[in-house]
Symmetry: C2
Subunit: 135 residues, 2 copies
DNA sequence: CCGTTCTGTCTACTTTTGTCGACGGGTGTC
DNA sequence: GACACCCGTCGACAAAAGTAGACAGAACGG
């Protein structure tokens, strides 16, 4: 399976990545401990995933004592955006809107975040109106 | 790689699936023709993808003449939602909002759709206010 | 010092996914 | 009827992803 934009993390890798994003730079020991609470992966498996993430450039390591501390190399945003765009790419005119609605509902944004999002939408509506009025 | 919630389509499969969603029930011949305009997959490859999608329950077939007509078995919505939820799952408090904003921006919704989304957000804001006010 | 423990590296094995070519049965056409 | 075409099914094979055991050296407790 040749082309798999090798920068995209695989499902299992996402899980590791998310943890590092969420909990900041972490030593191997801790990553393993935390992940083993959520999954039933063996120690080896996690180490392999970690190694592959480093290989793919998602994580970077810093030696501390006899072990490594992993930190995200790229911003979570960029990876999430990429993945998000891929998702949008799968939708079409008829399905985009419902999809967005679903995501917003499920996202659990708080009041402030919702307000901000609404502002964004207002701006976009304005643009859309200009666009559509023009043509 | 044992457990891959076998219902989730793989990248290559998504492409086939999207086509069927977009263009409604289609005969093999057409699917192949269309996909070969977008990719450089061989006929065999596409047939295999089609077969696997049927196996996984994403598409259903109906024999028409000496060939098959494929149609989506599940609504595009459900597959998109699943994928969307997976994506949300990768984000966290700090990254969800920016992600959503990005998606809305990229989604290219038109005026009406934006208006509808805005209404949804207003509703949610109301709920959030209740929630937060209560506790 | 010496065995125990922890850590990272290697190697390896199984499923999936990505891609196809080879076949075998219909159909249509001179 | 003989031959060229479509079509679907099989079988295959390489690369990627998932999962994990084995091993070597550093660090640690006694």
């Amino acid at each position: 399976m040749p082309p798999r934009a090798q920068e995209d993390p695989t499902p299992a890798e996402w899980q590791v990545l998310s943890l590092v994003w969420k909990a900041g730079p972490l030593p191997t020991r801790q990553i393993i401990a935390t992940l083993q609470e959520q999954t039933d992966w063996s120690t080896s498996t996690i180490k392999t995933l970690l190694r592959r993430l480093v290989d793919k450039g998602h994580l970077s390591t810093r030696a501390v004592g006899n072990s490594f501390v992993y930190s995200a190399k790229k911003s979570p945003q960029s990876a999430l955006r990429r993945a998000g765009e891929t998702l949008l790419g799968h939708a079409n005119e008829a399905t985009v809107a419902p999809l967005l609605a679903h995501l917003v509902k499920k996202s659990g944004l708080n009041r402030d975040e919702l307000a901000e999002l609404r502002e964004l939408i207002d701006d976009l509506s304005q643009d859309a109106a200009d666009e559509e009025g023009k043509s």
